[in-house]
Amino acid sequence: MKAMEVRLNVNGEAKQWTIAPGDLLLDVLRREGYFGVKRGCEAGECGACTVLLDGKPINSCLMFAAQAEGADVLTIEGVAHGSTLHPLQEAFLDHGAVQCGFCTPAMILNAKALLDRKPHPSEEEVREALAGTYCRCTGFRKPVEAVLAAAGAKR
């Protein structure tokens, strides 16, 4: 096993990291300080490890870091503009859609990918977009309301 280099963009910054071929994207991102990428089930079940890869949500626990070569990665750390929160982050706070917060980065990234593609989704589409992220606290109603409200605010 030889160490290898991976070049990628994380939250708009170019990075070059030395990795082992078996390193998971999840582990490398956390090693580099992106702790908003959560380690949950590590089996594709809970979605807590979600990041956007070229704008699309994926589970970073099921992807080798080497697969992100050349990609644009967005983690929750890159969603706000400086100290100005993203409308989705505001909406999650306003609607009490955050309890323990473990699923929140993944919820917001999945919702962001949806709104970027479809600014005015139906409730059904919001539910589908959040279906791959497991929340043990909120029962999903408030996160769904928050996403719909954020979509409305953008109107």
């Binding site: 078996g22 949500p57 589970n59 099921l62 992807m63 080798f64 697969q67 791959g132």
Partner: protein, 324 residues
Amino acid sequence: MLAKFSYRRPASIQEATAAASRTEARILAGGTDLLGCLRDGVFQASRLVSINGIKELKGIRPRAGGGLRIGALTTLTEIAGNQQILDSYPVLAQAAAAVGSPQLRNQGTLGGNLCQRPRCWYFRGDFHCLRKGGETCFAAAGQNQLHAILGGYECFMVHPSDTAPALVALDAKVSVAGRRGTRQMPLASFFVLPKASLVKENVLEPGDVVAEVLLEAPPSGTRGAYRKVRERGSFDFALAGAAIVLAMAEGKVRTARVVLSGVAPVPWRSAEAEQALVGKQLDAATAGVAAAAAVKAAVPLGENGYKVPLVRGILEETLIALAV
């Protein structure tokens, strides 16, 4: 970090087949199934061959005489949202949309979906079962709620893919590149029953790469649907499902392909159901007869008897829905 292996990124199919011919070399597409297999010790790898840089394996293109070719690296999200597939092959769009979660569909590819390993909990767990080269199928007399009611023989796993039944119902062909060139076969003969092999789910040999899936233009009057029942509402593998493609003419069924998922070790084509449909008016009575015919030969294990009425009900409902 997973166990130690080297990582190759071939730029062409030829390089990929050469690199993947070595024992314990594994092909990596999206990785959503492969990583779980490596982590759970289902198999080992000394070399990973990432095919993600091979351009020929990407995208959906029209074929010269009509129809489509879908590259093995096409993601399930792309398939579920492709307008031509939605219009001409709804059974496939619905099956791709039924796979896993949004994240898994963004990462998971068609080739990986066809080649994924079974989800039997003994196979995935710490059991040296028949399919891992051992002596026993632990499911036969063990916990077999999720196992096969058709086509089992010594091993009773069910094939986990949602797109495979849809593609078999569409009579798709698959093109496989290997060390001795490229060969094409009907997808139905790509999969193998436990009677033919207890350790492989398909005909692939070391070094083989699934390159693309080929679809014919649908004859006029074709309709189809994929219906899947899961234990959980959000996402899960099929407890049972059905992919149906019918060609209608003058109110009657001219040809029918009925393929069941979640109930057999391969996408299970039901010749009995098809025979019960052809030449008939598509109505509730015909649907009931065809659905009953599909499960006539079913042999449930200790704990999966519920799958018989379940798959029968799925078939009956889906056929009735296709009648209108």
